[in-house]
């Protein structure tokens, strides 16, 4: 898993270096490129950098927080004018940010925030708001009554925490919907299938499922078989290409679509501004949107 990813990261770094002329040099450390979501984020950033004439160097931290700290330190010694950081871990990223800002290199955090230190700007989707939207959409499609289960992401991750919290807040408004189980499936499709299969044994009358990402939702749909989309409504999160296809087919009731390309784009815009000494807002919330069968077409092109 490690070695080829390093080669890929090097290759990406090289192609990114080859692009620009006299443009601003910006470094970007992505938490992992083994996930289509972050690949889209990088693509959005790269496109915007090309448009603005900046040179973007992308590295892959492979979900390793200590490797990410090294990458940020390397960026400062390469005289990058700004650094875009997509933290592996919001807490562990703080020392890297401190080190960069000590040598006056501004840092933009993207997709996840950095805890404990101030960055120039945080560009992120609002996961709590997304969780709330998911609760509202699921309630609507369940006819505001019945039993629901939640498939949780990897325990302890901020995405799982925030989406779960938003969902709980949102579902409170519907007293006739009972959340009968909350179980972890680690953001993984195969585990989503197994956990949903097990939950159907103890709660056969479930009519709603909230999965904290699309992969688990697709696993749950597999467990539900022909009941998915008909008797049982499944709502996912992320709006991945496979998730959107399932929404179009009607097996996934809805997904809360994030806009990773827009996140990357906004982060580069901010990085270019701060590198030129302009002031920027402390935080930018990139909206999440509910994708359903009615409006799914507008997501697939973006």
């Amino acid at each position: 898993m490690r070695i080829p990813a390093i080669v890929m990261a090097l290759a990406l770094g090289l192609t990114a270096c080859g692009g620009g002329g006299d443009g601003l040099e910006i470094g970007m450390s992505v938490s992992t490129l083994n996930n289509p979501y972050f690949v889209q984020l990088r693509d959005g950033a790269q496109a915007q950098a090309d448009k603005l004439g900046a040179t973007l160097t992308v590295t892959d931290a492979q979900n390793d927080a200590s490797q990410q700290v090294n990458q940020v330190q390397n960026f400062t010694s390469q005289n990058m004018k700004a650094i875009i950081l997509n933290p592996v871990d919001s807490d562990a990223a703080a020392p890297a940010v401190t080190a960069a800002e000590r040598v006056d290199v501004p840092v933009i955090a993207v997709d996840r925030g950095v805890n404990g230190v101030e960055v120039a700007q945080t560009v992120a989707s609002d996961n709590v708001a997304g969780g709330k939207l998911a609760a509202q959409e699921l309630a609507r499609q369940m006819g505001e009554q019945g039993q629901a289960v939640v498939l949780q992401g990897t325990p302890g991750t901020s995405a799982s925490r925030d989406r779960g919290r938003g969902f709980e807040e949102g579902i409170k408004a519907f007293p006739n919907i009972q959340v009968v189980a909350r179980q972890p499936a680690d953001f993984d499709r195969a585990k989503g299938l197994d956990v949903m299969t097990n939950l159907l044994q103890s709660h056969p009358d479930v009519t709603g499922v909230f999965a904290e990402n699309d992969e688990m939702a697709l696993g749950a749909i597999r467990a539900l078989g022909s009941r998915a989309g008909k008797e049982v409504k499944v709502v996912g999160f992320d709006g991945t290409p496979h998730g959107l296809t399932a929404v179009k087919d009607g097996t996934l009731a809805a997904t809360i679509a994030q806009q990773p390309k827009l996140l990357g784009q906004r982060a580069v815009e901010a990085a270019v501004k701060v590198a030129r000494g302009e002031t920027v807002e402390k935080s930018v919330a990139v909206p999440v949107k509910v994708a359903t069968q009615q409006n799914v077409a507008e997501f697939e092109t973006s």
């Binding site: 898993m1 490690r2 070695i3 080829p4 990813a5 080669v7 490129l33 083994n34 996930n35 289509p36 690949v39 949780q152 325990p155 302890g156 189980a181 909350r182 179980q183 972890p184 993984d188 499709r189 195969a190 299938l193 197994d194 956990v195 299969t197 097990n198 939950l199 044994q201 103890s202 697709l218 696993g219 597999r222 290409p241 496979h242």
Partner: protein, 314 residues
């Protein structure tokens, strides 16, 4: 008499006793546990781990370790899906190619270990990275749809019998026969017991290691194809971390990590213990954070009971 004999048999097989305790406890705690459908679900959920673990049993019996099985499973499934969809190969050819991929990974591991004198931990750790990386390279990081015909491996025969359970049982019998009834199988025990003695008694140790790791790779390929069939989709990130479940299953089943000991039946029981536990935790709605604690404690207890009992009898 029969009850006395079965009690003696249970004492001899610590893992079986642990499984029985677990099943009885869960039946009492959850009214949904002891139904045919749920038990078949447990079987399906054990299948992938069990098949990987059968392959790991060969390796652990020789005193080695194979950390690459999860990655090799993913690479084999991706190879199948990619050659059948993008490559346009007929699916039987793609299946053969996928098995060949597993075997090839195993042979590379064995060559590094037997001829390159690398410790098995390092050789297979390298393969863990290489196979996972190649799966990502081939798939460009995205899941690939499995060919329709192969996906039926994830279905059921008739209304009830899940095919993954059948595949698991067949692979278990194959593993048991190889271990007990063939020359390479017995040579694996000899190598695990004392490699130098095995060499001196005329066993071609390097050649047996090639067979051992090739078998592990082949079993990993089968596990990968079963996993992908259940999802109808081959995923480059599939089975990440499953090597540790496989090793745990083998050791819970009574094998020794220092080699020379281990049986296919024990491994099956070890995999079933892990699956029963995860299923039960879901049925009981145990919180996400506690689940990991419980699983860790049960693994430790299962092996501890077994080793204490052995020490007592010796």
């Amino acid at each position: 008499m029969p009850s006395k004999r079965s009690a003696a048999w249970l004492a001899e097989n610590g893992a079986v006793a642990a499984l029985v305790v677990l099943v009885v406890a869960l039946s009492l705690l959850s009214s949904d546990f002891l139904s045919l459908t749920n038990l078949l679900n447990v079987g399906v959920q054990a299948a992938v781990t069990a098949i990987l673990a059968f392959g790991s049993t060969f390796v652990i019996v020789t005193g080695g370790i194979d950390l690459s099985v999860g990655s090799v499973a993913a690479l084999s499934a991706i190879t199948l899906a990619w050659t059948a969809t993008e490559g346009g190969l007929p699916w039987p050819a793609a299946v053969v190619l996928s098995l060949a991929t597993g075997v090839a990974c195993g042979l590379v591991n064995a060559a590094l270990i037997a001829y390159g004198k690398l410790p098995p931990f390092i050789a297979t750790l390298a393969m863990l990275g290489i196979a996972r990386g190649l799966a990502l390279v081939i798939s460009q990081g995205s899941p690939i749809a499995m060919p329709e015909a192969v996906s039926h491996l994830g279905d059921t025969v008739g209304r009830f019998l899940p095919i993954p359970v059948l595949v698991m049982l067949v692979m278990g019998v194959v593993a048991a026969v190889i271990l007990n009834r063939t020359y390479p199988g017995r040579a694996m025990y000899a190598i695990g017991g004392n490699e130098e003695a095995a060499r001196l008694s005329g066993i071609k140790v390097s050649r047996i290691k090639l067979v051992t790791y090739a078998l592990s790779g082949a079993f990993a390929a089968v596990a990968g194809v079963v996993l992908a069939s259940r999802l109808a989709s081959a995923q480059p990130q599939a089975a990440a971390g499953y090597e540790l479940d496989a090793i745990a299953a083998v050791v819970i089943g009574g094998a020794s990590l220092s080699g020379g000991k281990g049986r296919a039946l024990g491994t099956l029981v070890g995999a079933l213990i892990l699956a029963v536990l995860r299923n039960g935790l879901n049925l009981l709605s145990v919180s996400a954070f506690w689940q990991q604690v419980v699983i860790g404690v049960v693994i430790a207890l299962a092996v501890l009971v077994d080793t204490l009992r052995r020490r007592g009898t010796n």
